[in-house]
Symmetry: C2
Subunit: 269 residues, 2 copies
């Protein structure tokens, strides 16, 4: 479903795509990470390097279902790194702008230091965890059109907000994968880091992304991913959200941080 | 010095600036954060909102001393957030591309949750800390032309690499301020998050920035800033570096993350 819904077609004006109605956020507009995956797919096709190393996006206005045009600008393709920008427009106005650095994550380029001080979240097996959809009030989620319907999430404990009583802890760890069995790859990681409910929901709020940067650190192995999500600082109606994704071989595969605007629960910008 | 060296002048082609030779990194090319501050200053002038909320940059090639041209594209100025991109070119080629979200950090826009689970680094008073310049081999640093000469740093203990024996701990906490007494503001924070020696130096390496995103979270109070700098994951010749800056009133004022390429000590891309 992800591959169908991020398909791009070359045209005289740029890459044409169709924004599906199967990847909506809670506010009924397409998920930002999904739109960003479409842009990244177009840039990958133009740059000719295998991996997006960093993807930074600004979300200028909400997207819509239906036709979209992605225009790209390849700035430079160097020996180790390439740079490009992409713009997703709908009805002639800009929705998402992205800057991407590309490279080859499997290339080893001489001796480099190797260091790891992080660790994947320690979680009970997925079958011993909870599916938040089982507990969410149906009114909040039209699952067939929601990004939550595309993903399978398993949490050791459910945050308070899922049952309508925010617990004041804007953090969670969980298992995640595509519900249709599609295995993770460097492109789907770009969607997945923005595909989870915002952890500020446990402070009684909701949020809309202003800026998102994801660093893709390794090509993920097949299987479940584990995520660690946390917001540490909320001030002036703004907060960051940090996501780490770890693969089934215990390796960090993506890190993201977004800056988001606080919204009333279920609201829109 | 910072204000003089980031001055911009309107011209028919865009904003003209002069890249000074007083903000070099260890490799003798202008510091990326300094170049990014020039771009951000031009964008602030064009957008007409007071604060950069997020600044994301890709560093396409090393900058040079001398003339630069900054071209800007204001994408949208909304009620709470504005978006723009800027490009710094020298000799007709692109050096830095930036995407910036703007807003007003002093605007309180209705009731929002407020939450803080972080804390500033706990450090002995600046006068009880060490100046790394006192211990650095002169050969590594031409201080009059280096960004290290523009900043005043005070560390409770010096990392091993400063004395030539890397200790294997890519993290540090420190005091910092501009050496000439210029107080911090939202613009200088953009430079400061990229103005420190990379903590991977303590793994025996050096680095060059591929992508940097800084979120400016509050307007800083006058006085010393405190920084927490850490690299957690080094793999495939790439690593992230996270910086937090806290002001003299114990508030988080900026968060940054960069993706950088590993380099041999003192090397260039």
């Amino acid at each position: 479903m992800f591959d169908d819904d991020t398909q791009i077609f070359h045209s005289a004006d740029g890459w044409r795509a169709t924004v599906s109605d199967r990847w909506d956020g809670a506010s009924g507009v397409p998920n930002g990470g999904y739109l960003l995956a479409i842009v990244t797919r177009a840039l990958l096709a133009d740059v000719g390097m295998p991996d997006p190393l960093s993807v930074s996006a600004i979300f200028v206005r909400p997207g819509q279902h239906g036709a979209a045009l992605v225009t790209t600008d390849v700035i430079k393709v160097g020996r180790r790194v390439g740079f490009a920008t992409g713009t997703l427009c709908q009805h002639g106005v800009e929705v998402v702008r992205a800057q991407v650095a590309f490279g080859d994550l499997e290339r080893t380029d001489g001796p480099h230091p190797c260091f790891e001080s992080g660790a994947p979240p320690q979680l009970p097996a997925p079958q011993d965890c909870l599916d938040p959809l089982d507990a969410m009030p149906a009114v909040q989620v039209a699952v067939d059109r929601s990004v939550l319907g595309r993903l399978e999430l398993r949490l050791p404990t459910l945050p308070g907000w899922v049952a309508g009583t925010p617990g004041g802890d804007p953090a969670m760890t969980l298992w995640l994968r595509m519900r249709d069995g599609r295995e993770p790859d460097v492109l789907s990681l770009v969607q997945l880091v923005d595909g989870l409910p915002p952890v500020v929901a446990d402070l009684g709020g909701w949020s809309t992304t202003v800026e998102l940067t994801v660093h893709v650190r390794r090509r993920p192995a097949p299987g479940w991913l584990r995520a660690r999500v946390i917001t540490r600082h909320v001030s002036n109606g703004l907060h960051e959200e940090d996501v780490e994704l770890w693969d089934s071989t215990d390796r960090l595969v993506a890190q993201s941080r977004q800056l988001a605007l606080a919204l009333p629960l279920g609201g829109t910008r």
